[in-house]
């Protein structure tokens, strides 16, 4: 059945019926093209949003303090709640399930940072060693701030790759000293951060050093921690525990969000995930319905084409063709069209995605790397092939079983 002769017969049929061939091929191509472009666009959207979220650990809880807005235990409204190093220790020791924990002592505004004769203004951020996990800071050279730095209040710093470019050029920054507002800090590490340009322009210093150097005593402005791989419900429980613990200690009325705010990023992440699942589902639905439309298209055209060919089938039968050979001929024809037009549609779809990827600037927000997993076109392809076989088989079987004499009189 796979003889060259059979194929020659098929090609001659397809060549002589150009419009029919084109219409069938088009409906298949279009279906698979749409599926790939849609799924690719959905993935692009997801990749884009995820990239902007990559900055921070999604399994984190952020804790801020502010001024109370509810009177509590005889204390007035408007009292500033102040975290200290003790709160950091408290969370470390008393909250179960804390994976990484860091505090931040705010150093407001930009600082004049200089190395030798070069100088520029950058933000300075003070923190604990675990901070790198919370901000997804990637160390490219040297190390980040460590426990020893904290304990000994060392004047060391890890700087962003953009700062290196500005201050050091091609020079190796490790071990060199930079001046931060007249204080010298030794550069121990270089990092990069995928959270955006600004995140690569920060000078990190140990929190204890900052507290001492900038008259902070033991003050902490903000604490952040990650919840590890704990399931979503557990993280809500953890956030609740933290809130109870700190509000009792600082005498903040339960539920006073102005005085004490515990923000669970897991909730955002979960919501985002739900949105993505929704979008993905929607894309799949549209794609699959487009394919179904394509399948209906082939079936329809095959039905009409076979009906149109009742006479041809009758002639072939009178010339000695068996029913099976006729069914085969029509199925192979259908599969051939499906296969090549499906392939074409797939390539066109992938081409469009590649083109978009190429044209799109790298740091485009909310749309990045539109791509399809390999199994998508493969699955769609197999589906179309099966559809092609069935779309050929049923009409062909019906037509091939027609009495040739009736077929031949079918004017």
């Amino acid at each position: 059945m796979f003889k060259i002769d059979t194929w020659e017969e098929i090609f001659s049929i397809l060549r002589k019926n150009k419009l029919r061939t084109f219409l069938t091929a088009f409906s298949v191509s279009w279906g698979i093209f749409m599926l790939i472009v849609l799924i690719g666009a959905g993935n692009g959207l997801q990749n884009g949003v995820q990239a902007t979220m990559n900055d921070d650990a999604s399994n984190s809880i952020w804790i801020y303090s502010g001024k109370t807005s509810v009177p509590y235990q005889g204390l007035p409204i408007g009292r500033q709640v102040k975290f200290t190093n003790k709160d950091y220790t408290l969370l470390r020791e008393r909250v179960e399930g804390v994976e990484y924990l860091t505090g931040r002592f705010y150093l407001w505004g930009e600082f004049a940072i200089s190395y030798r004769d070069k100088s520029s203004a950058f933000s300075v951020r003070s923190c604990h060693p675990d901070h790198k996990y919370l901000e997804n800071t990637i160390i490219t050279q040297g190390r980040f701030i460590n426990e020893k730095d904290i304990k000994e209040e060392r004047k060391v710093t890890a700087i962003g790759k953009d700062i290196v470019v500005t201050l050091f050029g091609d020079e190796d920054p490790i071990g060199k000293y930079i001046k931060v507002n007249d204080l010298l800090y030794k550069v121990v590490g270089v990092y990069k951060d995928e959270g955006g340009i600004n995140e690569n322009r920060i000078v990190y210093i140990p929190i204890t050093t900052a507290q001492k150097a900038y008259a902070g005593e033991d003050r902490i402005h903000q604490m952040m921690l990650t919840t590890g791989t704990k399931p979503f419900k557990e993280t809500i429980k953890m956030a609740g525990n933290i809130e109870r613990l700190l509000s009792r200690k600082h005498k903040v009325a339960p539920g006073d969000k102005r005085g004490l705010s515990v923000y669970n990023n897991n909730e955002d992440f979960r919501m985002m995930q739900n949105v993505f699942t929704g979008i993905e589902l929607f894309m799949w639905c549209v794609g699959i319905f487009t394919i179904i439309a394509g399948i209906v298209g082939i079936t329809n055209i095959m039905l009409i084409s076979v009906k149109e060919r009742t006479r041809e089938i009758g002639i072939r039968k009178a010339m000695g063709a068996t029913t099976n050979s006729i069914i085969w001929l029509i199925i192979l024809e259908s599969v051939f069209i499906t296969f090549f037009s499906g392939y074409f549609g797939m390539m066109a779809g992938i081409g469009v995605l590649e083109l978009v990827n190429f044209v799109l600037p790298d740091d485009t927000n909310f749309f990045r790397n539109p791509e399809v997993q390999v199994y998508v076109p493969v699955a769609a392809f197999i589906l179309l092939l099966i559809a092609g076989v069935l779309a050929g088989y049923f009409p062909a079987r019906k037509a091939a079983s027609v009495d040739p004499v009736v077929a031949l009189r079918d004017e």
């Binding site: 002589k16 039968k317 009178a318 010339m319 000695g320 099976n324 050979s325």
Partner: protein, 232 residues
């Protein structure tokens, strides 16, 4: 050669009724005969042709073609015998519109699994024989009615059949062309091929050696053409 022994054939009509179309046909056609089957519409001549052409089955009786009993054949067997023993010629030519004259003639050889080059070469020979060599690459819609029917006869002849079955072969042709086509059938017959022509045209049957008249499913008369004319 062709032997029919009390062939009966009924078609279901509605749910429980049957239309008895052929009521015990006995017929012997010898090798090399040129026969016509005549009869008004409804006489059963199309059904008889279908049975002769192994395109339809029969209820009881016996059909022997070239010493083979054509009964209870599988789909594949009947296709095989059609291809081996029979050549068909139709009123409306039934050429495949998307194939040229040569490819149309070559079609039966395709089903004998003859390679394309060989079958086209043989087809060309046959076209030459019927004076159509120059038209080999023309499509059917570029041919006249007479030319189409000659292509169809060439196609019917290419597998060297024992019997040519022609269903109203001149029905779509003018009288002059009909004459030509009948001459071709006579020539083909002279070379030894049995020819059976179903027709209602007395001009046509008059040019055959024997006329078989069918009426209401039985053979009313069988004899040579002149005799038939006298009866009519």
């Amino acid at each position: 050669m062709v032997t029919l022994n009390s062939i009966n054939k009924s078609y279901p009509v509605g749910k429980s009724n049957y239309l008895h179309v052929l009521k015990g046909i006995d017929l012997v056609i010898d090798k090399g005969e040129l026969v016509s089957i005549m009869g008004p519409s409804g006489s059963g001549k199309s059904t008889l042709l279908n049975i002769l052409g192994i395109l339809d089955s029969y209820d009881d009786g016996e059909y022997i073609l070239e010493d083979v009993v054509m009964k209870n054949l599988s789909e594949k067997q009947s296709a095989f015998y059609r291809n081996k023993f029979l050549g068909f010629v139709f009123q409306s030519f039934n050429l495949l519109p998307f194939k040229n004259a040569m490819e149309n003639v070559a079609l039966p050889l395709y089903y004998q699994k003859v390679g394309r080059k060989d079958r086209n070469r043989i087809a060309l020979n046959y076209l030459d024989k019927f004076g159509l060599k120059d038209w080999a690459t023309h499509m059917p819609n570029e041919l006249s009615g007479g030319q189409k029917q000659r292509v169809a006869i060439a196609r019917a002849m290419i597998n060297k059949p024992s019997v040519i079955l022609a269903d109203e072969p001149t029905g779509a042709l003018d009288s002059h062309t009909s004459e030509e086509v009948m001459q071709i059938f006579r020539d083909v017959n002279k070379e030894g091929t049995t020819v059976i022509i179903v027709t209602h045209d007395r001009e046509v049957s008059g040019r055959t050696d024997r006329v078989i008249s069918l009426r209401d499913g039985i053979i009313e008369h069988s004899g040579n053409a002149e005799l038939n004319k006298e009866i009519a």
